[in-house]
Symmetry: C2
Subunit: 337 residues, 2 copies
């Protein structure tokens, strides 16, 4: 029996804010399974800000990138059985023929795994969030690059997002002072409910520099940057000696058609002896299972909370993607098929 697949295809590379007409929604028939392949049906699509810059490297006509949680519905693989749940880099598509050795796509991460039922017993969608790539991004990026010490002050922006909300909570678990910035009063309340010491609505707080000073009277030791732009120079200017910066994202710049300008930061990095490091989380792929196990334990112990913003319907994937740039999501943005 033939299998129909629907998928979102990149028709033109984004320029400025992504537009619906940059993508096509197409339907096609999948070829029959080959030996060693399995067919899976998408249950959940991950929506992540990195698609915006990373899609510049996708060939036109490619399926839009991203991880999904899917269920195996046919199998010619001895490793994957019908009924298995998998997470993989299959992109924005409803059905996929997947070689058991891994799926080739233009995505940054090729992480593919069967979902361990002991970790994903509550919600399989967490394989795209707290116990998936965004969770690994928060855990590995923060611990490896910010190297937090008890009593230090962390600033994280995009703090109510999939990654930022975890970074602040991990900082608290490690004994740090967590200061988070988000884009609505409701998100600020959410951050406070997570235990952030300070949370501010960047849209209404006024001067960034003054707000940082007030929120961090002892200066800033750790900066986990999801936003870039003016945040970069303003936070760096208030960092303490030997401060550490993990550059995880620059969402404020992704859709800019003309790159904004600011003051050169090298003298700040020099004078405060800062260490600033950018990363893509796939570099720590071998640490991901440890991160998931630890965060799963923290969830069970009530120390780590997560949120999901769910958009229903494969046809609404583009709207969910756009929502990432308008601040529509609290926690992890996902699409339920």
């Amino acid at each position: 029996m033939s299998v129909k697949c629907r998928r979102w295809v990149l028709k033109s590379h984004f320029s400025g804010m992504p537009k619906r007409e940059d993508l096509d929604l197409v339907e096609e028939e999948l070829p029959p399974l080959k030996d060693g392949e399995f067919l899976c049906e998408a249950l959940w699509l991950s929506m992540d800000p990195y698609f915006r810059p990373a899609s510049a490297g996708l060939a036109l006509g490619s399926t839009m990138m991203g991880a999904q949680v899917a269920k195996v519905t046919q199998s010619k693989s001895s490793k994957y059985a019908v009924g298995d749940l998998v997470v993989g880099p299959f992109g924005w598509r409803t059905h996929t023929n997947v070689p058991e050795t891994g799926y080739e796509s233009g995505d940054l991460s090729t992480y593919m795994a069967k979902l361990d039922p002991t970790l994903y017993k509550d919600r399989e969608s967490t394989a795209l969030g707290v116990l998936g790539m965004p969770g690994a991004t928060a855990y590995c990026g923060f611990l490896n690059l910010c190297t937090p010490k008890e009593g230090e002050t962390l600033v994280v922006n995009g703090a109510a997002g999939a990654v930022g909300s975890l970074v602040g909570q991990i900082a608290k678990i490690k004994g740090c002072n967590a200061v988070g910035f988000a884009g609505s009063d409701k998100k600020v309340e959410y951050l406070k409910s997570l235990g952030f010491d300070e949370a501010l609505n960047y849209k209404t707080m006024g001067s960034l520099s003054e707000s940082l000073k007030k929120a961090c009277p002892k200066g800033i030791d750790l900066f986990y940057d999801n936003v870039g732009g003016e945040w970069f120079e303003n936070v760096l200017a208030q960092m303490n000696t030997f401060g550490r910066v993990a550059v995880c994202g620059a969402i404020s710049q992704y859709n800019a058609t003309e790159q904004p300008k600011g003051h050169y930061v090298s003298q700040l990095i020099l004078g405060h002896q800062l260490r600033v490091e950018g990363f893509l989380t796939a570099r720590w792929l071998e640490e991901w299972p440890k991160a998931f196990k630890q965060m799963s334990d923290w969830i069970s112990e009530g120390k780590l909370k997560y949120e999901e913003t769910i958009t229903v319907g494969f046809d609404n994937a583009f709207d969910a993607f756009l929502g990432l740039f308008s601040g529509a999501n609290t926690g992890k943005a996902i699409v339920k098929i």
Copy 2:
């Protein structure tokens, strides 16, 4: 017998290019030596670009900062004998009463040591250069922060200076490809004579971005930045994945009255997964002796060369200082008293 001391005093903090009238040259009588003190007479003064930003932290009326090589002429210390040569943070002064336990000044480094005659047998002035703070800056900064691997490409600017000229040579010793930028054709010739693979006159080469591309066709792995400003964004834009940047100086910005602007660099740091770290070399004080020993060996083996630009006369110290910002020096700038 009373001892007269002459010293350069900070009268007003520099604004823009330092002016002669920002400093006073005063003469005063030193108090008699106390127990545990020695009197020393300056032979050589170090002239370093960092005085410019660091002097902003000096109280008005202070002696201008900096290291000197001096000879002990009187002593009430059991550790320092008349005739000993010392290096210490005594600043721009001809005579100094120094407690044997160390000299308090507003300098960034409080390094004080008797000159080991096996290391400084050729030229005592090297205690201010290749076998002193600038040497440690090159050696520790480059090896600890750029962590060079064989075959990697280094870019260093201010490459004919006290630090840059050593960084390029150490990179060659470590098997790297060394690309240096300096401000005159004569300096470019000097860099080539030191073994730099590429050397360019930044004043005449035209587009910085294009020149970097031509000089580094395989991209840039390591950047040792002495200059800052537009260098920072242009080099970062051409760095390879996992590139390392040591931010040692920002001489292009030290005298700016209005800080120049450029593109935000956080997205470059993110996309290329760069590690950027600023440093003051005093953080590795315990590694300095090892660095001096190694570099002294390299000098003996003919692998490391150094140059000094000598200004004669204590009264000409200010001119020597200004020369740092006009590119007057090749190698280490020093004043011979």
